[in-house]
């Protein structure tokens, strides 16, 4: 008999400003999100530009020019709305271009570390 688990969702946040990751994670702690994984990611535009630079041929050699960070976190469904609000607060509005993208996905099963 397995104990009933709370409903969880996978929150995916793609931040175009890597500098804000630290603030986002601090916010996660504040809201009670206990864990997240941060991955260096690349937007489509950055990949396209890498192939076809005009004046800045060296730019694609530097790792930070990948530009974005993807934050993945499985969290209780009850936290989702507050996390969306947190992202909005940190970014200053999700409707601006080049700010962030965030969405949730249902988690059917979850096994692994439980805090």
């Amino acid at each position: 008999m397995s104990e009933a688990q709370p409903r969880r969702k996978l929150m995916v946040i793609i931040l175009d400003q890597p500098a804000l990751v630290d603030e986002l994670l601090t916010g996660f702690l504040d809201l009670g999100v206990r864990g997240a994984t941060v991955v260096e990611s690349r937007g489509m535009g950055s990949i396209i530009r890498q192939d076809m630079p005009i004046f800045a041929g060296l730019a694609s050699l530097f790792p930070e020019n990948t530009g974005s960070r993807m934050v993945l976190s499985v969290m209780a469904e009850s936290l989702i709305d507050r996390v969306f609000s947190l992202v909005e607060e940190i970014i200053g509005g999700l409707d601006k271009p080049n700010s962030a993208v965030c969405f949730t996905l249902p988690v059917e099963q979850f096994r692994g570390i439980r805090h």
Binding site: T26, L29, D30, L31, E89
Partner: protein, 154 residues
């Protein structure tokens, strides 16, 4: 997590100039012990001092977050202080700290402790917040402004 449950008007202070970090921690420990039942100044001071020795809690914005987890207390609380002229917490690259938050919590509530610290860090990192707090005329206004800043955040 809202901070209103941890902030208390009687634990909000506006202090005159203090010459050293240890002196500040001692003074704050004494004031906390005077206000909070079950807290002794000496062990609190020792715990705060030990924490600072392990790693200074100041930030480049001139804020310090000395904190301690103590046996024998049931609830977390925050003491907030404005220190005239600021005091160096021991990191030469940081400016003297004139906004100080002392967080005290039960030894068995580590997660809550981390969350409160994260909340304080977020609030203090928001542009304009520190200047707003620093402009408080007295301790009660500092308390009010802290609650107002807390309410601005998710």
């Amino acid at each position: 997590m809202r901070l209103d449950q941890f902030l208390r008007p009687d634990l909000t202070f506006k202090l005159d100039a203090v010459d050293a970090c240890d002196r500040l921690l001692e003074m704050l420990s004494q004031r906390i012990a005077n206000q909070v039942e079950g807290i002794d100044a000496e062990p609190l001071f020792t715990a705060l001092q030990e924490r600072e020795q392990r790693g200074v809690t100041s930030t480049p914005d001139g804020v310090a977050f000395p904190h301690a987890m103590l046996e024998g207390i049931e609830d977390s609380f925050i003491a907030a202080a404005l220190v005239a002229g600021g005091v160096s917490m021991g990191r030469s690259e940081h400016p003297p700290c004139d906004v100080v938050f002392v967080l005290v919590g039960p030894a068995n509530a580590a997660w809550e402790h981390v969350r409160i610290l994260a909340r304080l860090a977020r609030i203090c990192h928001t542009p304009g917040t520190l200047n707003h707090l620093r402009g408080s005329a007295d301790a009660s206004q500092l308390h009010e402004r802290l609650l107002a800043e807390d309410a601005r955040h998710v």
